[in-house]
Amino acid sequence: MKKLINDPKAVVDESVEGFGLAHADLVTVFPDPKYIVRKDAPVAGKVGLVSGGGSGHEPLHGGYVGMGMLDAAVPGAVFTSPTPDQILPATLAVSSGAGVVHIVKNYTGDVLNFETAAELAQAEGVEIRTVLVNDDVAVQDSLYTAGRRGVGGTVLVEKIAGAAAERGDNLDAVAAIGDRVNQNVRSMGVALSACTVPHAGVPSFELEENEIEIGIGIHGEPGRHRIPMENADGITDRLLDPVVSDLGLASGDQVLLFVNGMGGTPQSELYIVYRRAAQKLAEQGVTVARSLVGNFITSLEMQGCSITVLRLDDEMTTLWDAPVHTPALRWGV
């Protein structure tokens, strides 16, 4: 294992410390228990937005703390959900009295820990709503599994719900728009190579040189199937087709097309994927009204990408375009 680290046990501590130093103008980092809050939190009268999850998906979630997006992010150990003793103080730190929305990716650990923290926060008098993100179409038997996972759609939920909170929507309205984004977003990913969790020291799974895993999760969890390597257009079709059919996209729909890198794939390749996906959507009469291309929800150094499509309405588009100023997303300011 070759990694730019000092000690496998200190990876999250040192990385978050560096993050705090680099973005001291936007965020405050609390080291123990560990959480990241927006510099000017709590913002008077505003609904607070808290998300979190295992580390290793950077810039998710800490990179999205700031004006127009999250009020706090709670990083767990690598690929391990954070604990209630972090989520609770983060929630209290951003609570201005207008309530707090927890944005939770649908993984057993994340759900259990946020659920516990929400109970504790409510016992302290903070009203909590939870938006569960489960956009991964790779999971087919949702009834017989822990359900669809939260992946790329999480970034879009955080941006759009964050903009709604920033413009002054109340607690139920912010949660409702978060749910609406989740209902209209689908994703599917592919891995060309595995990633190595620092404390494990060996790759999370094995892929032969000529093999890829279609439907990979963001922790290296397996997807639908393994197939021999194909060219970019072929792989793009395998990701986009199930997303489009699951979403039930029709001619005339307006969408946001998000091609996300898993951490080890160059931007140039992501644009090759974007090109094909955009062409295919255009052929189906779907208008790509907004786009996002880059490494926004990653899986350490994994090679691969995911395609996320969000069916837009006017309000979601307006909220997507609204100003945002965070370490990882910034426009309109």
Binding site: G54, F79, P84, G109, L112, S204, P222
Partner: protein, 210 residues
């Protein structure tokens, strides 16, 4: 003779030792069907339990288990933190104020722990989770407690052996809960790491009563 707070502290100490010794094995079990973090998280969690026990020595078995519950819930993360936290909390509640735990109370506490895991995680027997270690363990414990001689060591040994067999029984199962469930058919042939760590903890409970 029942089980006192000394037993509870020895149980937790032996559990911490087992998590440290089996850290790599649990990571390796978690790698193909999970995300390689179970051994790391359990080791970190029980080390924190040891620190807490040293800081504030508990006076009853229930107090020791409650402290364990709060520590695991706050330090472990993942699914294992809330699940084990709930298990220890429910067991502590079942023990009540007793300073000397008899066989029937012990069996009831183990049952409460299992029920807590089921309530939090919503897994059933056969889903390839820690429930597949705990359910045979509490059945064996109840049978041993009902045998009449009231020997708590027999109850703990029966639970440990059944949990170990239960962990092995997860090998051919198709995972229906947790991250392994995403593997579908490919989860078959792997042992569930949560069932293995559960068996280690129950074996430590028996070891502490030797």
């Amino acid at each position: 003779m029942g089980l006192d707070v000394g037993w509870a502290v020895r149980w937790l100490t032996l559990s911490a030792q087992a998590m440290a010794e089996h850290r790599v094995e649990l990571i390796e079990l978690d790698r193909p069907i999970g995300d390689s973090d179970h051994g790391e998280n359990m080791d970190r969690g029980f080390k924190a339990v040891m620190d807490k026990l040293a800081e504030a020595p508990p006076e009853t078995p229930a107090a020791a288990l409650k402290l364990t519950a709060m520590t695991l819930m706050s330090k472990v993360g993942g699914a294992a933190g809330p699940l084990y936290g709930t298990a220890f909390l429910r067991a502590a509640t079942a023990l009540g104020e007793a300073s000397d735990v008899d066989a029937a109370t012990l069996a009831a506490a183990l049952q409460a722990a299992r029920d807590g895991i089921v309530a939090r995680g919503k897994a059933e027997s056969g889903d390839k989770t820690m429930v597949d270690a705990w359910t045979p363990a509490i059945e064996a414990a109840a049978a041993a407690a009902g045998d009449g001689d009231g020997d708590v060591r027999k109850v703990l040994l029966a639970a440990a052996e059944a949990a170990e067999a239960g962990a092995v029984s997860t090998d051919p199962m198709l995972a229906r809960k947790g991250r392994a469930s995403y593997l579908g058919e490919r989860s078959i042939g792997h042992r569930d790491p949560g069932a293995v760590s559960s068996a280690l903890i129950l074996r430590a409970a028996a070891g502490a009563a030797e």
